[in-house]
């Protein structure tokens, strides 16, 4: 009878970091953005976040059950998807629509591909794209920030009945600074207001300053690849700056481009989704630059005021191609012998 021999293999020490800690850090970094959104848009924003997050977690659990896998809700990634989806939606978005979009985000955006790490697209953005396609009107109806009764009552459209179109209540609705520029041809919002965020917009995209601070926290905690936001924002600023120099009367300034709409949120929290972005540093530079460029091109020349969502989804789609050309440089590789 031979004794059991256990040979452990090297390395025998490990860095203490884990997937759970990374995801918890991302949730932590999102909380101030969520809190500011509630401060701006009140109970409706809170209800929206609760709905999407709960739906995402339940959907994740449902698919774990269906596929017979151990529960993965402890890794917090479904919570992140839920929060991010809520932050990209208009604050008065009907809750039933939000729940459907959240279900789609996890079911089609993540579970279908095999769960965390296998999703080729950012699940939250896939849910957001679904919302834009399925509920075009509600997904582009914005509310003023800082309404006086926001902490005592919900916005009327929040509780719209399922499969009923919410009534449009003109008293509350308004145009975002981007839509104003796009469709009315002028910029009425000053850059400082954009930077600090007291403007209309999606629930979580309005304060560039807050997103910047939370993003830097993520980078400091090594929970995000710093190259992503640098590449996206740098490329967007360069692209926008080029057009601005060509025709300052027609194109907005690069600062307006950076701080308006979802560019900051997208650059820090969406494009940086690890599963749907390249793993190599060179790949990330290309990927980020592509997203920044596309976002500005869509804003300037597309039919929509905002382009970051589609820019990131296109960037996600390009990842396999980017990784084909952006592998690390091998130590000691003889010239002309590359694989």
């Amino acid at each position: 009878m031979a004794p059991r021999i256990e040979l452990k293999t090297s390395p025998h020490i490990k860095q203490a970091d884990s997937v759970e800690r990374i995801m918890r850090t991302v949730v932590l970094a999102l909380l101030p953005v969520c809190a500011f959104s509630v401060y701006q848009f009140g109970l409706s924003a809170l209800a929206l976040m609760a709905t999407t997050t709960l739906t995402c977690v339940l959907t994740e659990q449902l698919f774990n059950r269906l596929s017979g896998r151990p529960s993965t809700i402890g890794d917090f990634s479904a919570v992140i998807t839920g929060l991010l989806l809520a932050l990209t939606l208009p604050p008065a978005f009907p809750l039933w629509m939000a729940a459907v979009s959240a279900f789609v985000a996890i079911a089609l955006g993540k579970a279908l591909f095999g769960g965390l790490g296998y999703n080729p697209f950012n699940p939250a953005l896939l849910g957001r794209a679904f919302a834009a396609a399925a509920f075009p009107e509600a997904a582009s109806t914005w509310t003023q920030a800082g309404l006086p009764e926001r902490f005592s009552e919900l916005l009327p459209s929040t509780l719209a009945m399922p499969f009923m179109r919410p009534e449009s209540v003109d008293a509350y609705t308004t145009a975002t600074p981007l839509a104003e520029w796009k469709f009315e041809g002028g910029i009425a919002t000053d850059t400082w207001a954009l930077f600090t965020g007291m403007t209309p917009g999606s629930a979580g995209e309005t304060s560039a300053l807050l997103i910047l601070v939370c993003g830097l926290f993520l980078i400091a905690r090594n929970a995000m690849n710093w190259r992503v936001p640098v590449a996206v924002l740098g490329s967007a600023a360069l692209t926008a700056g080029g057009f601005y120099l060509l025709d300052p009367g027609h194109f907005p300034s690069p600062l307006f481009v950076l701080f308006s709409g979802g560019l900051m949120l997208g650059a820090f929290f969406m494009a940086s989704d690890m599963s749907s972005s390249p793993v190599t540093p060179a790949g990330i530079w290309i990927y980020g630059a592509l997203i920044g460029f596309l976002a500005v091109i869509i804003r300037f020349f597309g039919g929509l005021p905002e382009g970051i969502m589609y820019a990131i989804l296109l960037g996600n789609a390009a990842v396999p191609l980017i990784e084909r050309i952006a592998q690390p440089r091998l130590y000691g590789l003889r010239r002309g012998r590359s694989g």
């Binding site: 452990k8 090297s10 490990k14 860095q15 970091d17 997937v19 690890m274 793993v279 540093p281 694989g339």
Partner: protein, 449 residues
């Protein structure tokens, strides 16, 4: 860290900086371990053909006497670490499991155990070839861990000129400090070895690479180098795996060893400081390698330190001497925590290539040796950011999971991986990447043969 690193030593790109954990032993002077009552000497303690026994059961041997001869040029002889008698030649377990032939010696208890076998030579009069033969006869193998016969390392193919002997004094593995103490306490031996190495290679210069966390070793070496001598100390950043052959050549000389090639192709031969100290001490005296310096450390050791240990000392005896009581071989690591191996049995001996014996914490104390179920890769890219060779471990791991071993080799340079373990160390999903790569390489080799 990033900013300050420009002020300190030079380095290769990427890599990791695990906690050094050397405080336990780095200031401890080298001590002699007592002689075990029974010594186990495997005939294969080196990379190459096993040695051929020269002794028989019952035969008396004196300390330093050859007991097995080299079987050709790709082999090294073996010498008696103690004065005693041959108990037999038997199949004995090795550290990794399989049994191999070993000579068993019973130590004479009353003996003073001085070296009684020496043939001093005038080394200056030897030709390069004769010097290599002398190195082989002394049974010297690389002391850094790979146990490659030293005379073969110096035996550079005809027509290849080596301009620099690179000496590795980095000791970048956590816990280990044997090389550090060797550089401080045996500075003259190290330098004598370097000079002999230059002579054996016909190399006009030598560089000793030492990490900047060992300022006392740097000062000792610099103080002992003769003025005008073509030997210098290259100060390198303390970073893992600074001491790996390829990284060291790049950090010190800015040259890259070609993929799939050997350092002499860029005019360099790399040796460990421990090997140099052996060379510098043994060759002038005409003695052979029968003991070595070993760091014994780790959370489970009562008397950690650097010990002068006779080759052939059973691990169980060594551990008892340093105050470790226990029976779990999976806690014992030969070498460093990044690249060393756990042992199959505590009855295996210390061999010529063992640089450290570490006793790691119980698996339950999950801090350092965290044992966890692998989770899916989240593509965080940390492995790519640390791989010193410039591989894409994330992609390699994905391919390994899909059993596409050929693609790993052909398109993603699997064979350039030297298993330093940086990728596994940083992986937040606890994926045993290096282990996947070892298996993939083994399967590819099997398929090729």
């Amino acid at each position: 860290m990033g900013m300050l690193s420009f002020l300190s030593g030079r380095s290769f790109p990427r890599g990791i900086t695990p906690p050094g954990r050397k405080a336990q032993t780095r200031t401890e002077p080298i001590r002699r371990l007592s002689f075990a009552p029974r010594m186990v000497l495997p005939l294969t303690q080196h990379f190459g053909k096993p040695a051929r026994p020269l002794v028989q059961r019952g035969q008396e041997v004196v300390r330093g006497e050859p007991i097995a001869e080299a079987d050709g040029w790709h082999s090294v002889p073996l010498h008696a670490p103690v004065t005693g008698s041959v108990e037999g030649i038997e199949l004995m377990p090795t550290a990794r499991g399989p049994k191999t032939e070993a000579i068993l010696l019973r130590t004479h208890p009353g003996d003073s155990q001085t070296v009684r076998w020496a043939q001093p030579q005038d080394l200056g009069a030897l030709s390069r070839r004769q010097l290599l033969e002398t190195i082989q006869a002394a049974g010297i193998v690389g002391q850094g861990g790979a146990s490659f016969p030293s005379h073969l390392k110096f035996d550079v193919p005809e027509g290849r000129a080596v301009d620099t002997l690179v000496v590795n004094g980095c000791e970048c593995e956590p816990y280990l400090s044997a090389d550090h103490r060797t550089m401080i306490e045996r500075t003259e031996d190290v330098l004598a070895g370097v000079r002999l190495g230059m002579q054996a290679l016909g190399a006009p210069q030598a560089v000793i690479g030492v990490e900047d966390d060992k300022p006392d070793a740097i000062a000792a070496l610099e103080g002992a180098i003769e003025p005008g001598e073509p030997i210098r100390v290259g100060i390198l950043r303390a970073k893992y795996p600074q001491g790996s052959e390829k990284m060291l050549v790049r950090s010190l000389l800015g040259r890259e060893v070609p993929s799939g090639g050997l350092p002499y192709e860029v005019g360099v031969v790399v040796n460990n400081v421990g090997t140099m100290a052996q060379l510098g001490y043994l060759l002038p005296r005409g003695e052979a390698l029968i003991e070595r310096i070993i760091t014994v450390a780790g959370p489970g050791v009562e008397r950690p330190g650097n010990y002068r240990v006779p080759v052939g000392t059973p691990l169980r005896y060594l551990l008892e001497e340093v105050g470790f009581e226990g029976d779990d071989p999976s806690r014992i690591i030969l070498g460093g925590p990044m690249m060393g191996n756990t042992v199959a049995f505590l009855d295996v001996p210390v061999t010529k290539g063992v640089s450290g014996v570490l006793v790691m914490p119980e698996a339950a104390q999950a801090g350092e040796g965290r044992e966890a179920q692998p989770k899916p890769c989240i593509r965080c890219g940390r492995c790519v950011e640390v791989c010193p060779v410039g591989l894409n471990p994330a992609e390699l791991g994905r391919l390994a999971a899909k059993r596409q071993y050929e693609v790993m080799e052909e398109r993603f340079h699997l064979n350039d991986c030297f298993e330093c373990g940086c990728c596994s160390y940083v992986c937040p999903s606890d994926i045993p990447l290096v282990q996947y790569f070892r298996i993939a390489k083994a399967l590819n080799r099997e398929r090729a043969s």
